[in-house]
Point group: C2
Chain length 193, copies 2
């Protein structure tokens, strides 16, 4: 493999990554339908049609971004929780990891997770399947909590997840940090009494 070949490989590899990053930001800001391939091209410095050298379709691009974001989040949360024994501390560690991923200023990552409404049916099926697997992580954490009787664990988990997901909608940098917000969330959900 020649030097030129290697350089070219690196070039196209980072080119694709750059397109993915740009696309993720646009999707997060304007939604699936609100972002055209031409928008993504423009933000990447190419024409819309040229993107198809790097990706197969808009649908496939969106699914790849969504699932990649959940892969990354899942790994970070699992790592953050790994060494923590106390159930409530595990919950808080998971909230911190989730919000640090979700609220990172740049980040290939999510907040598109709520876009399910505007996406084609075939895409939605894939997104929901991946998301359900992700939510299993929280199911396990919630299952270990010594919650008082009368609290429905299913509702509890849904409420927790919807808060973590929605945080990106109202978060403004410069006030509380993601970690501090996670502390507030964990405190709300800590119900020993």
């Amino acid at each position: 493999m020649s030097k030129k070949q290697v350089a070219s490989d690196q070039g196209t590899r980072s080119r694709r990554d750059e397109i993915l990053t740009v696309a993720a930001q646009l999707f997060a800001r304007k939604g699936y339908r609100g972002t055209s391939m031409r928008d993504i091209g423009e933000a990447s410095g190419v024409l819309g049609g040229s993107l198809y050298h790097h990706i197969k379709s808009k649908d496939a691009l969106f699914v790849e971004l969504h699932n990649g974001a959940l892969d990354a989040a899942e790994a970070r949360i699992a790592a953050a929780v790994a060494d923590v024994a106390d159930p409530w501390d595990r919950l808080e560690a998971a909230c911190v990891a989730m919000l640090e991923v979700q609220l990172a200023p740049d980040s290939l990552t999510m907040p598109m997770m709520n876009d399910f409404r505007e996406v084609p049916d075939a895409v939605r099926v894939e997104l929901v399947a991946r998301r359900d697997r992700f939510e299993g992580l929280f199911r396990a954490i919630v299952a270990d909590l010594p919650l008082p009787a009368g609290i429905d664990r299913s509702i509890y988990r849904n409420l927790l997840l919807s808060q973590l997901n929605a945080a990106a909608d109202w978060f403004r940098p410069g006030r509380l940090t993601p970690r501090e917000i996670a502390g507030q969330v964990a405190r709300l959900f800590r119900h020993d009494g």
Copy 2:
């Protein structure tokens, strides 16, 4: 005014209401961009172009639905809270009213409140302004709560509202009722200790 005239007025009035109802359901299910005027026409039994006899534009239709939904929700919550003195009971009454509106099976009402991403800028400005006014209702309720020190009321309010808004995404009829879910929410947010 002749009998025929009256009947005709009632006809166009209820026709318009029917279109609004149908449009609200489609917007809620498929989002602003995912719902075309032709979709709304088809569900109303007319061609897309014919809708413009009843409405000015897609944007105006969406804003009217959104603001009307918030008007209705605001009125119901204000009424539910009016006779309640204890701050925590007021919070719970507001949650019940909000979720009963939000989770009503048919209902002209919301869950489109999160679609802000995909909407034209000019529309978003109007939606945000109306929503901010709506949130003032909860700001007042939260302000009266005897929350322990260390809980940030701004975060607390945002967390509460994002849960109430997101409930429609995971709610499934036949399990817990909206009222019971509101009870779970209120219990989570009741932090006297």
